[in-house]
């Protein structure tokens, strides 16, 4: 049974160049704004009792999504359906008024949640007990610490079991003790059929509470799956951004120790490592990536070959190829003009580590045939752990492993099921004899 269905939710904010723009629009001067999309085509379902965690960087659109689903922000596109009562803790609160006491705010908040006057009176003791704020319940909310506010807000929001509970970051404000307590309550609710939508920057909380996670990046759902794999992917994304930043920083001042040689009849104008059309300096193992090389001819050339070479941290060749071997030899461009080539690497199956990219421009099969330009370590890039399991070495092989069952072993001809019994008797004999026999054979 589905308790929440979001279909193609998009949210755009209007940005006006001038503050008077809106007024001019009202008067009828035509559109004066541009739309800033913070959410685009978000589609997902949450089943009854399911807990969905939402992860993503700051400004990715997580909170906006929750606000849309809680009903405070109107979506620009798409629609959503919720089965039953929703209770939401957005921006760490449920709209408490700072000047009123905790008790007064509890009454107002529960009315807003649709809890009747009588029921609120009945629940007051429970709410007080769960929030554990003591005498503060009769003090104005403005005197509360942020933790106390969240405790009280959570207590009210969960005083009656909702069908959908939306929690935005709130629980990370409370102390560990309260977190455990609230997690327990959420877990109990889920057993009774409450669905949970949960935004948190605490991976631990997502892993313990949620059985599914969404990764939102720049307003789009990038991943939807079990929390472990989504969080791993997210971490890889973050690690990649981080590495990118560091490499770019180290690249820019020193220009690294790249060396160039050649006749300069033609030169490499630029080399770039592109992922999804954007220059990158870090990628995840297995990501698709493109090497784009732009060459410029200085004189007329009968033939040019463009190549690239990936080397590891120690300078060992890892992989290299060129247009000659790829069957793409051609004549040089007109002197003074440029030519660009993309080498699309469908999956960059490199192990985690630091690599360099060398670009070559020559005639014939190798650069020894006539070297125009050879650019060593033109780019340094980093491969960071992606979704693939941990491995060592410069290659990242796409490995799937499984244990074979006993009967699979018996029927499989290549399975050395009879190898062990045959070995057993020789164990009693002289070991060195067995070994030498093996060598002789």
């Amino acid at each position: 049974m589905v308790s929440l269905r979001a279909q193609g939710i998009g949210k755009a904010y209007r940005r006006y160049a001038q503050t008077s723009g809106r007024l001019r629009e009202w008067i009828g001067f035509g559109p004066q704004h541009e739309l800033i999309w913070v959410l685009r085509g978000v589609t997902f379902e949450v089943r009854r009792g399911e807990a969905l965690g939402i992860v993503g960087a700051n400004g990715a659109g997580k909170s906006t999504l929750l606000k849309v689903l809680a009903g405070t922000v109107r979506p620009t596109q798409g629609f959503y359906q919720v089965a039953g009562r929703v209770s939401a803790l957005l921006e760490l609160g449920i709209g408490f008024h700072p000047d009123f006491t905790g008790r007064q705010n509890v009454v107002m908040a529960s009315h807003l949640l649709g809890i009747s006057v009588e029921l609120t009176a009945e629940l007051m003791a429970d709410i007080e007990e769960f929030a554990e704020i003591g005498d503060y319940i009769d003090q104005p909310v403005r005197t509360y610490s942020s933790g106390m506010q969240v405790r009280l807000a959570f207590s009210v929001a969960t005083a009656v079991r909702p069908d959908l509970l939306i929690v935005d970051e709130a629980l990370s404000v409370g102390d560990t003790y309260f977190q455990h307590k609230s997690f327990d309550r959420i877990r109990r609710f889920r057993e009774q059929g409450t669905s949970l939508l949960f935004v948190s920057h605490m991976p631990g909380a997502i892993k313990t509470l949620c059985d599914r996670a969404l990764l939102i990046d720049q307003g789009v759902v990038v991943r939807d799956g079990d929390p472990d794999s989504v969080l791993d992917y997210y971490n890889a994304l973050v690690a990649r951004q981080h590495a990118e930043h560091e490499i770019r920083q180290s690249e820019s001042p020193a220009g690294v120790t790249s060396t160039r040689s050649g006749t300069s009849d033609a030169v490499i104008a630029s080399i770039e490592l592109l992922s999804a059309g954007k220059p990158v300096r870090a990628l995840c193992a297995g990501d698709p990536v493109t090497v784009r090389i732009v060459v410029e001819a200085r004189s007329a050339l009968r033939e040019v070959t463009v190549g690239f070479l990936v080397r590891d941290r120690l300078g060992n060749d890892v992989y290299g190829t060129n247009t000659f071997h790829l069957g793409l030899s051609r004549a040089g461009p007109e002197p003074g003009t440029r030519l660009a080539i993309d080498f699309e690497i469908v999956r960059m199956d490199l192990g985690v580590g630091s690599y360099s990219l060398t670009a070559a421009l020559h005639s014939g099969a190798t650069h020894t045939d006539g070297n125009f330009d050879w650019w060593d370590k033109a780019i340094v890039f980093q491969v960071v752990p992606g979704q693939r399991p941990h491995s060592i070495g410069t290659a990242s092989l796409d490995v799937r492993a499984r244990w074979l069952s006993e009967d699979e072993c018996e029927v499989h001809p290549s399975c050395p099921a009879d190898f062990l019994p045959r070995l057993q008797p020789s164990k009693g004999n002289d070991m060195s004899a067995g070994t030498s026999e093996g060598i002789k054979r």
Partner: protein, 266 residues
């Protein structure tokens, strides 16, 4: 149609609305030692001051009313209705901006906010109005059953104030100048309405040029009830009622058009 649904959803939140009105009422006098006294003292002081200052000056303008209380009755009957109007209007102007914290976090039916303002202003009005009726009884000037004629008048005043208030309140989210100018507008409007002075005290050209003011017949209607103890001609209310309808329709239209953007802008 969607307006009906919106009103219906506000009805679903009546517990919240009523509790808010109560809280509003309580908070006004909370933290003060004399509590209720202040609820009464303010309008009382205002009436006393105006009476002292203007009673003698205005006497010739109220022919046929020689009682020493005439001016006070005249003043109160206009002022109380005006205060209901201006309280709703000035509180509605900031209604969305001042409740930003709530609107951003909770899915409140938007109509519940103007409803709270209207109901709590009406409650304040009823307190002072009750005192006024008591005062009339004391001096033997209670007009009797005629008082019931005030009910349709109040309905028009509330509609007019709410319509304007929602209109201004919505626009105020985007242009906060509205809140500033509304204060000015209300005080000018007050003096352009014959509350402190009788209409006939004005030169006729001025009286005619102020005919657009829907509060003019409203105030005169109330003054007729209490000063002359008779039911005024219902025709007096046709113009204010029409203006109220136009303003309510306009306010709802603007609100509907912009309500989606309100939370985005807060």
């Amino acid at each position: 149609m969607s307006t009906v649904r919106a009103l219906w959803s506000a009805w679903g939140f009546r517990d919240y609305i009523l509790a808010s009105v109560k809280r509003d009422f309580a908070s006004k006098y909370l933290g003060t030692q004399l509590g209720w006294f202040w609820a009464v003292a303010q309008p009382l002081a205002l009436i006393a001051i105006y009476t002292l200052v203007f009673a003698q000056v205005m006497k010739p303008a109220l022919p046929g009313h020689d009682s020493p209380w005439s001016y006070s009755i005249f003043l109160c009957s206009g002022l109380l209705v005006w205060q209901l109007f201006s309280e709703i209007l000035s509180r509605s102007v900031g209604i969305f901006v001042h409740n930003a914290n709530l609107l951003k976090k909770v899915n409140v039916p938007r109509f519940s906010l103007p409803a709270i303002v209207a109901l709590s202003s009406i409650a304040n009005f009823l307190v002072v109005f009750g005192l006024f009726l008591g005062f009339l009884t004391l001096i033997g000037a209670f007009p009797g059953g005629v008082v019931a004629a005030i009910v349709p008048l109040l309905a028009i005043v509330v509609a007019l104030a709410l319509g304007l208030g929602v209109l201004f309140g919505t626009v105020n989210v985007f242009y906060r100048d509205i809140e500033q100018s509304a204060t000015l507008l209300v005080s000018f409007w007050f003096w352009l309405t014959p509350i402190v002075y009788p209409a006939r005290a004005l030169p006729s050209w001025l009286e005619q040029s102020l005919a657009w003011n829907p509060m003019w017949p409203i105030v005169q209607y109330s003054q007729t009830i209490f000063l002359e103890a008779r039911v005024p001609e219902p025709g007096m209310l046709v113009y204010p009622a029409l203006v109220a309808i136009v303003v309510v329709v306009l306010g709802l239209h603007v609100f509907r058009r912009l309500s989606g953007d309100i939370v985005d802008e807060l």
